[in-house]
Every structure is written in C-alpha cells, then in structure tokens.
Symmetry: C2
Subunit: 128 residues, 2 copies
Amino acid sequence: MKEKGSRAERELVHKFYDTYPWIALRAPGSGSTPLPSPDVLATNTKRYLAIECKSIKSKQKTFKPEEIEQLLEFSKRFGAEPWIGIKFNHKGWFFIKPEEIKQTKQNNYSITLNLVEEKGIKFEKLIQ
Amino acid sequence: MKEKGSRAERELVHKFYDTYPWIALRAPGSGSTPLPSPDVLATNTKRYLAIECKSIKSKQKTFKPEEIEQLLEFSKRFGAEPWIGIKFNHKGWFFIKPEEIKQTKQNNYSITLNLVEEKGIKFEKLIQ
C-alpha cells in the first residue's frame, strides 16, 4: 500500500513537471522526520501547492485528523495552499480542499468517491 | 556515506524548523526520481532556498557538474535561490553559491575547506 502511494506521488510529480511552468518535488514519508511535510510540493513560482496524497482502491478511505492538521500547519508556515490529492482506481486524480472533508464521529476524516466527484477538481483546473 | 548525508539533511531541516518563521523539507535522493530536486528546500514565505547538501569528512570533495546543473534548473523553475550546504566535521554548516565553486580540468566541481571558509557563509547569515 505504501509502495502504491509512492508510485502515485511520483506520477503526480511527473504530471506537474510535464506541465510547464509547473514543477514539483516529493517529500519523504512522515516516518523519516517528526516534522510535518506534505507528500508533494508544487509551484509555478506564483502559487505553491502542498499536497497530501491518497491512493484509494475502494470507494472510501478514512484517515486521522493529525494528517490534516500537519498539512495545514506546514502550508501556513510554507506560504502554500493545502490540498488533498486523491487517486481513485480508474478515475484518475481529484483535488479537494481540506475544509471540504467532513469529520466522522470519531474525529477521523472520511473521503468517499461521492464527495470527491461533488467537491473535487481535476488536475487541469487545479493548475489554472 | 548516504546515511551520514541523510542525517546531515535532517539536522539542517531541524535548524530551519527551529528558526521561526523558517521551515524546510527534505526531498528524496535523486535515485527515486529522474527529475531534479534539491536535498532540502527551505522558506520563510518570502525567500525560497534550494539546498544541495554535502557532508564532508576530509578537507576536500569533488562532485559532478550534473549535480550543480540540476540544482540550477530546479531553482530556476521553482523560483528558489540555489545554494550548496556543506557540513565539515567539527566545523558546522557553511553555505556557498554555486557560482563560487570552480570547476576542475575534468569539469568536476571541487569544494575545499579553504574555499568554504573564504566564500561561504554561516547559517545565521544565510537566513538574514
């Protein structure tokens, strides 16, 4: 699952790199440092996007509030826009703002295909 | 040597993180993607620094022109200042601009302790 996530991140970095003047880099997984950093950081030198990536096989994925909190903290200090990048099998990439994701009763966040199709945007719109 | 380099990079990321409002992240080694990315990217949201890190045990280290070229290419597209960050044993960190490093007859670049002490700046000055 981790390897699948890395592959998705590399693919996203390439998408930015192939879309001049955008460029992106991957930051290492949270395991290697206790400091917050997003999976991918992209820029066209005007906008900076901090992107937490999720590769989702089924129609739903739950994740912990710390991931969103760290993304928001990093983005604020970095001067970047926080985004969640979600790759659903056979549906490609969607991008959604953290505030669009509702918390469950256990305070976790839940991303569903429905939510993403309703509130998310595609890559081409993200970089407009 | 790779592990030593990673440790130095992590240490540098922490130095930025502990110096508000600076923040930094590590990008993975060049092995994981063919696209150029620096070892460390730091910002105070006004300046962006792309830093290629070198941890040097002896008094001299040679490296290939590709490393400098990739740093310059990335920095230009990212809107970042290119820097070489060098940690000499027992001497701490120095930062030097790529154009200060002379090429050898084989087109490689050579960093010496003498060069770094003459042309390099310390962390406190880098972030001023």
